[in-house]
């Protein structure tokens, strides 16, 4: 940590990759091309649940320009996946959702590839489709995976038929806790399926070389995970697969896992030419990895003065035809259901359930908005029923420094009270209903900074510039700029002296990936580790050159200073290159495990939140009581970021996260009917435009974490979490209507007001 005034960290310095992005010279995976490249396209199921009776690709193969048509028969029979390996490259024997890949083609032009798709003949025999959670959980429900018991899965999961995991937290004795309560509240909530909405489609280009190695240029957030998955799917050694990320146009968790890379790789192998596969908007909205829809049941007991004595809850995730991130998300959800509250008795369960819909995945704070919507809505309902101020009810029950989390972890750097008070003050909470049809709402929560390891190489060049070589991908958050700020601070150089090379499984060190708000945190710490190593070499060399002790050396102003003498890093690097192989060091960081009580959890993939962040959102809005339209006057976020590494880009994360959160709250939903998506296009999948977004006021609260670089915590995911609950609470305040289903559209509000006789 810096003992003097920081020079680089904590400053709103411009991002390092900005020039390429504003000039259009930055190359994204969707832009990437190779000479002789073919166009790959995927043939997808039109049935939600059906046996494949006949699949004939002969006519397609014969069309001009078509170079390959592949089906399950042409690829190894492998099941892959994360915690649960249930996915196949192409459907085998049966299809389980509309949009499931059945075949893939490669052709010389887009038109030829589309003609090939149209020429594939398939006959389906429909099976009873499981269209929603109720249908999936009903006794005697059709099994979406008849052979579920034979699938490979991590042993900790609890699986049974259409339930692909059940995670549980038990603390104390909820029944006793409910007996102690003066009032018990039970509510049910529902949230819809939403898409990450990145503006760059998923894309991959694959090319094989003469030695049997394949390179895949992809916009994945997890190049090393994709490398491993491709190894399983292609049945090759991972070292023969190179995944490179040229650039990503937004990910938000939707680009974690293989989406099109495997098709590109197989088609490139079959044709002997590079192949590019890029998704369409329709494919994104029918066959990607959206956020699961949920049903939540929450039962909370409180004393009449508002102390929470017990909470029991269940959240069901409609995770679609394949598990995807479901098992993990169901686990994380239980921690969100507990909330940042001191509750002595808990019984919380998360279920990931199969249905015949697209397999869902991870979207920025997976389970966060869904579970938080239930928890924070209910808190307000309770406050209202008890005649208590919702802010006071929260302050009475929230965790503070040194308190225990739901699974027994000790909480440090707890900035929640400060966040709540500041957010409430910023919307003038003392005047909660300033006018008819106008109301204010609060919501608070907590979230993790995901662990996993990150490695970097750091090299000082003879011209004094510094190369930072990291396996992490920059997905747009400027996390790598933040990590580079740490490096610059520690090395005594400027941010402008650093060049970043990233995300290439051949030549960059392993990184767990751009997920879970971990990149600046982990890569920043890896840089600090690298600098520690580098300092030893640099000081040893400098000491010899200057005739001083290494202990007397320090780094400042691109030089080593000692006893009134100095030598530049550039000179040292030049010397080292001539005599010692260069000034290069390696650093690795893996977050220390967070201690928790393992007796409290079961079937749980994510039992503690590491270096947790805390946050509070506050919104002031009005309703048009006839049309139901919502106008947001003010939206405030107070977020405990630990240490604001680069305030401008942290604000950017908050402003953007709120936009996605408001989209889920007010306008976005992938709507299914009879197993088909009714709105598979951007005309009817309604993401907020410039005119829909209010200004967001951000308040950066800093309670430094014990582990993060300079005390930083993960910042990217949290802003997505609280908007739905904050909005629902403000709407309730403005209208006395409690809406428990997302999205809260103008239609819902208007019709509910009508039905209530208003």
């Amino acid at each position: 940590m810096a003992t003097s005034e920081p020079r680089v960290v904590g400053k709103s310095l411009p991002r390092m990759d900005g020039a390429g992005k504003v000039t259009g010279t930055a190359v994204y995976a969707a832009d990437f091309a190779l000479p002789g490249m073919l166009v790959g396209k995927v043939f997808r199921s039109t049935e939600p649940h059906a046996r494949i009776v006949r699949l004939d690709t002969a006519r397609a193969r014969a069309l001009p320009g078509v170079r390959a048509v592949m089906t399950a028969a042409d690829v190894p029979d492998v099941r892959y996946g994360g915690a649960l390996k249930d996915e196949t490259v192409f459907a085998r024997g049966k299809v389980r959702y509309v949009g499931q890949p059945v075949a893939a083609v490669a052709a010389t032009t887009r038109e030829a590839a589309e003609a090939a798709l149209a020429a594939i003949e398939v006959v389906y025999a429909p099976l009873p489709a499981v269209l929603d959670l109720d249908a999936a959980l009903a006794p005697g429900a059709p099994l979406i995976h008849e052979e579920w018991a034979s699938y490979t899965a991590i042993p900790i999961l609890h699986r049974d038929g259409n339930v692909c995991n059940r995670a549980r937290i038990v603390v104390g004795d909820v029944e006793r806790g409910f007996e102690e309560a003066d009032r018990i509240f039970e509510h049910r909530f529902r949230t819809g399926m939403v898409h990450q909405g990145y503006t760059e489609p998923r894309a991959a280009v694959a090319a094989w070389d003469s030695s049997g190695q394949v390179t895949v240029w992809s916009n994945t957030q997890l190049p090393f995970e994709v490398q491993n998955t491709l190894a399983e799917i292609l049945q090759m050694a991972p070292s023969k697969i190179r995944v490179v990320v040229p650039g990503i146009g937004g990910g938000f968790g939707g680009k974690l896992r293989v989406g099109v890379e495997h098709f590109a790789a197989f088609l490139a192998k079959a044709t002997g030419r590079p192949v590019k596969v890029i998704t369409t908007s329709e494919e994104e909205l029918t066959a990607a990895y959206p956020r699961q829809g949920t049903v939540v049941e929450l039962k909370t007991g409180v004393t009449k003065d508002g102390r929470i004595t017990a909470k029991a809850g269940r959240i069901w995730f409609d995770t679609g035809a394949f598990a995807g991130s479901g098992p993990g998300v169901a686990s994380v959800a239980t921690l969100v259901l507990a909330g940042p509250y001191k509750i002595p008795n808990l019984h919380l369960e998360g279920f990931a359930v199969y249905t015949n819909k697209t397999n869902c995945g991870s979207f920025r704070a997976p389970s966060g908005p869904q579970a938080n919507f239930a928890v924070e809505s209910q808190i307000d309902i309770i406050a209202d029923a008890l005649g208590l101020d919702p802010l006071e009810l929260r302050l009475k029950n929230i965790v503070r420094e040194g308190d225990e989390g739901p699974t027994g972890q000790v909480l440090n750097a707890v900035g929640l009270e400060e966040c709540l008070r500041k957010a409430a003050a910023a919307i003038a909470w003392n005047d909660r209903r300033p006018a008819r049809w106008r109301g204010k709402g609060l919501a608070c929560g907590w979230w993790t900074t995901t662990g996993g390891s990150s490695g970097v190489y750091v090299k000082i060049n003879p011209d004094g510039t510094v190369a930072l070589n990291t396996g992490a991908a920059e997905i747009g958050t400027a996390a790598l700029t933040g990590a580079a700020q740490v490096l610059a601070e520690e090395l005594g150089v400027d941010l402008a002296d650093i060049n970043v090379v990233s995300a290439d499984t051949f030549s960059t060190p392993f990184d767990f990936g751009a997920q879970g708000s971990r990149t600046a945190f982990a890569v920043g710490n890896a840089c600090r580790a690298a600098v520690d190593d580098l300092k030893r070499r640099v000081f040893a060399l400098a000491a010899a050159q200057l005739g001083v002790e290494p202990e007397a050396c320090r780094l400042a102003d691109k030089h080593v200073l000692a006893d009134g003498k100095r030598i530049s890093l550039a000179d040292l690097a030049r010397l080292s290159q001539q005599t010692g192989g260069g000034l290069i060091a390696q650093g690795t960081f893996i977050a220390p495990p967070t201690a928790y009580d393992s007796k409290r959890v079961d079937g749980h993939v994510y039992p503690a939140f590491h270096s947790p962040s805390f946050h509070a959102h506050a919104v002031d809005l009005s309703i048009d009581p006839e049309t139901g339209d919502v106008t947001i006057h003010k939206y405030v976020v107070a977020q405990d970021v630990g240490f604001a590494m680069n305030p401008t880009y942290i604000e950017g994360q908050i402003e953007g996260g709120v936009a996605q959160g408001l989209g889920q709250a007010l306008s976005e939903e992938i709507v299914y009917e009879n197993g088909r998506v009714l709105n598979p296009n951007l005309t009817d999948y309604k993401m907020p435009t410039t005119l829909d977004m209010p200004r967001v006021e951000t308040i950066l609260v800093q309670h430094p974490s014990l582990v993060g670089p300079y005390g930083a915590k993960g910042v990217g995911e949290p802003p997505n979490i609280e908007p739905p609950a904050a909005v629902a609470n403000a709407v309730a305040s403005a209208t006395a209507l409690r809406l428990t289903s997302l999205p809260i559209t103008a239609e819902h509000i208007a019709l509910a007001l009508r039905d209530a006789g208003t």
Partner: protein
């Protein structure tokens, strides 16, 4: 999506090509509807006849009566100085069509021929008693816009005809127009419901002499609310009469439930927006008078 492409340089040439290709061809104006439908496979014309080199189709004449060439873009409509006053609803309708990019190339003629029941400028034109002129190999014919629109995506245009212009008479004194749109977002929306209104008041400013109300997205085609209009004519304009007009307009519409909205909500929106549009017209007439 392959086709033969033609670029006539005169109206006569365009009409001749239209006659030659009939239903195998489509005229291309801005392309903001046609190209998208072709990409989606809904339309597969063998011939595309681009109009961008035919001169004379993009003029706006507004000396008393108004004549809009078929290729007038929404942007040109938005900005036309003479439409910023009493004909303001034309601007209000035009400026909510897509984003700037769509409005810069999308044309009024193309929008009319596309005949989406949710079109935004069309209801405004209906309240202005607009007529359209089509030119075919047999000559010109003019129809009332209301008769030209037949159903969703369907008009009375014959396959060999080109819509060349839209016309409407100048507004009588003490008249005003207004337009309101409802959608889930504040931009880039296809109307869930839209309402256009035109009122002409008497000298006292209290009574309605002439009323026009047009509704979008509540029927297979943009709808004139005739009964509501007749009710208002010769009546005093009060909160009650506006509400009754809204009730009659709501009764006349046949909305569907789709992924954008339920029929019930669409009816509620008609009931809500009709009085607002009419009240705005009244306000605007009174502002002119003062």
């Amino acid at each position: 999506m392959s086709f033969e492409y033609h670029e006539p340089t005169s109206l006569a040439e365009a009409v001749a090509l239209g006659a030659r290709f009939g239903d195998d061809g489509r005229f291309l104006a801005g392309g903001t509807d046609l190209i998208i439908q072709m990409h989606r496979g809904k339309l597969r014309p063998r011939h595309v006849v681009s109009l961008h080199r035919v001169s004379g189709l993009d003029a706006i004449d507004a000396n008393g009566a108004v004549r809009l060439g078929a290729l007038v873009t929404h942007r040109a409509l938005e900005r036309f100085p003479a439409f910023q006053g009493r004909l303001r609803a034309l601007v209000e309708g035009a400026e909510v069509v897509g984003g700037h990019q769509v409005r810069n190339v999308g044309t009024v003629g193309g929008n009319i021929v596309n005949a989406s029941p949710a079109a935004d400028v069309v209801p405004v034109l209906l309240t202005l008693d607009a007529s359209v002129t089509c030119l075919g190999p047999g000559g010109e014919r003019t129809l009332r816009l209301e008769d030209f629109l037949i159903g969703s995506g369907r008009t009375a245009r014959r396959p060999d005809e080109l819509l060349t212009s839209v016309r409407f008479a100048g507004l009588a004194p003490r008249s005003a127009t207004a337009f309101l749109k409802a959608g889930r977002r504040r931009a880039m929306e296809i109307s869930v419901v839209c309402v256009a209104g035109r009122l002409t008041l008497d000298a006292s400013g209290e009574r309605c002499l002439e009323a026009r109300i047009a509704l979008g997205a509540v029927a297979p085609r943009t709808l004139r609310a005739h009964e509501a209009e007749r009710f208002l004519e010769q009546r005093a304009l009060t909160a009650e009469t506006l509400r009754e007009a809204a009730r009659l307009a709501t009764a006349a519409c046949q909305p569907i439930s789709d992924v954008r909205a339920s029929a019930r909500y669409r009816r509620l929106l008609v009931e809500t927006l009709v009085p607002r549009v009419l009240a705005r017209c009244v306000e605007r007439v009174r502002e002119q008078a003062s």
